[in-house]
């Protein structure tokens, strides 16, 4: 789906989600939308630039990678103005950004419900086992390696 999206539609969508998240940030974390606006604009801009790079470069990597790397790069100490970027984006609580995402996820629930009813019980059981496996086993690996490397 990623390659089919129109840039204009995406920018509009990100702006709308940005506004919703600013209001959530206000309701849940008591930061006024005016104060958090510059930070939110930076976050939206990073995302759009990441998409732009994906569209320009011939390599077929997910846009998420470019977005992560840009965000990471412009907040490292060596980047000019990084302190300002960190301060402004710091006004946007990351949970305030996650709540709208899961609201959209919820509202799309009914779409796949029909497919779900056709599944057998085995595949449902295994789905939960698979998600448990990836989460719990990587947590165990992290815990063990933290202990061996003496972090805690």
């Amino acid at each position: 789906m990623e390659n089919n999206l129109k840039m204009k539609d995406m920018i509009l969508t990100y702006i709308i989600i940005g506004i919703i998240a600013l209001l959530g940030n206000w309701a849940g974390y008591h930061v006024s939308p005016i104060k958090a606006l510059p930070g939110m604009l930076i976050i939206v801009l990073i995302t759009i630039v990441g998409w732009g790079i994906k569209k320009i470069l011939p390599i077929n990597l997910p846009a998420v990678i470019y977005i992560s790397l840009i965000a990471l790069l412009i907040t490292t100490k060596i980047f000019p103005g990084s302190e300002w970027i960190i301060k402004e984006t710091g006004n946007v609580n990351f949970l305030a950004l996650a709540t709208p995402i899961l609201a959209y996820a919820g509202l799309s629930f009914g779409k796949d419900l029909h497919e779900f009813k056709k599944l057998g019980w085995r595949i449902v059981v295994i789905s939960f086992v698979v998600y448990t496996g990836t989460f719990v086993i990587s947590t165990i690996m992290a815990e063990l390696s933290f202990r061996f490397t003496g972090k805690f």
């Binding site: 977005i67 992560s68 609201a103 959209y104 629930f109 698979v130 990836t134 086993i137 947590t139 690996m141």
Partner: protein, 274 residues
């Protein structure tokens, strides 16, 4: 696809706006259950109330609006990823110092689905569906890999699609509840759990990270940085490892384990008897 996927519906955005404001105002609550305490917080309410609203029988949303909502979800989590990225920059040295744990947890993410999933799938009587179901967490990129190799109509393809559907519907909610319960056992450090959160799916990762931050508010930033870091590695390496390691390995283990753990077909059992 001929038509561009639509991402615009005032109704959907308005519902999300109301869900966000209402759930943020409700705030954090704890729910004691027999097996442990479950932490409830805004994004979980938004997910649950949203899901109920989209049940087709209630006729609140049209199928088209649910599709639009799914399209928006597909790109919206990138704002969250961008925000996590801005938290990672200042902590980059801290992340590099945890290079070994970061690499090993990644092995856990990749192998975890197979190690736990494949034996259980065979024990409950799945056949080749088990390969598609357990070689990865079966998100979109993984589905593409399976259908390229076996076709989406194959047993392997059906297995992968089944896990995909369950994950889409219940993955975030399930992992959030599981995180609550495991965190309260107090056997893992919050940072280890944070790394575990980097499963490579935007909404599931947001749900697990959100749960952890709600339980350990004083370590919110470090948790975000480490789950962001783990998720970045999973996304970066995921597809390649899936093609070159996970899928061949699952197929190999299936062939080894199926004769031992798998249930025999009725015909085979008859043959043994006679």
């Amino acid at each position: 696809m001929d038509a561009k996927p639509s991402m615009f519906s005032w109704k959907v955005h308005l519902f999300v706006l109301v869900l966000v404001c209402v759930t943020e105002l409700i705030g954090v609550h704890e729910l004691g259950l027999g097996i442990g305490t479950i932490t409830l917080f805004p994004m979980l309410y938004a997910l649950i109330i949203g899901s109920i609203m989209s049940i087709p029988k209630l006729k609140i949303l049209k199928k088209k609006e649910m599709q639009i909502s799914a399209n928006i979800l597909g790109i919206s989590f990138m704002l969250f990823i961008a925000k996590l990225g801005t938290m990672m920059g200042p902590q980059l040295m801290e992340l590099f110092k945890s290079g070994i744990p970061l690499l090993l947890q990644e092995a856990g993410h990749i192998l975890g689905t197979i190690i736990l999933g494949l034996p259980i799938a065979l024990l409950i009587g799945m056949k080749r569906e088990a390969i598609g179901a357990t070689f990865s967490i079966d998100r979109e990129p993984n589905l593409a890999i399976i259908s390229e190799k076996y076709s989406s109509d194959s047993a392997e393809g059906r297995g992968a699609l089944g896990v995909y559907v369950c994950g889409t519907l219940f993955g975030a909610l399930y992992l959030s509840l599981l995180t609550s319960i495991i965190a309260k056992l107090d056997i893992f450090h919050p940072l280890s759990l944070a790394m575990g959160a980097g499963v490579g799916s935007g909404s599931m990762m947001a749900a697990v990270t959100g749960t952890l931050v709600t339980i350990y508010p004083d370590q919110a930033d470090t948790i975000a940085v480490f789950s962001g870091g783990a998720n970045l590695i999973t996304t970066l390496l995921g597809t390649y490892i899936c093609v070159f390691i996970s899928l061949p390995l699952t197929e190999f283990l299936y062939n080894k384990l199926n004769p031992i753990l798998g249930r025999k077909h009725k015909n085979e059992i008859k043959n043994i008897k006679t």
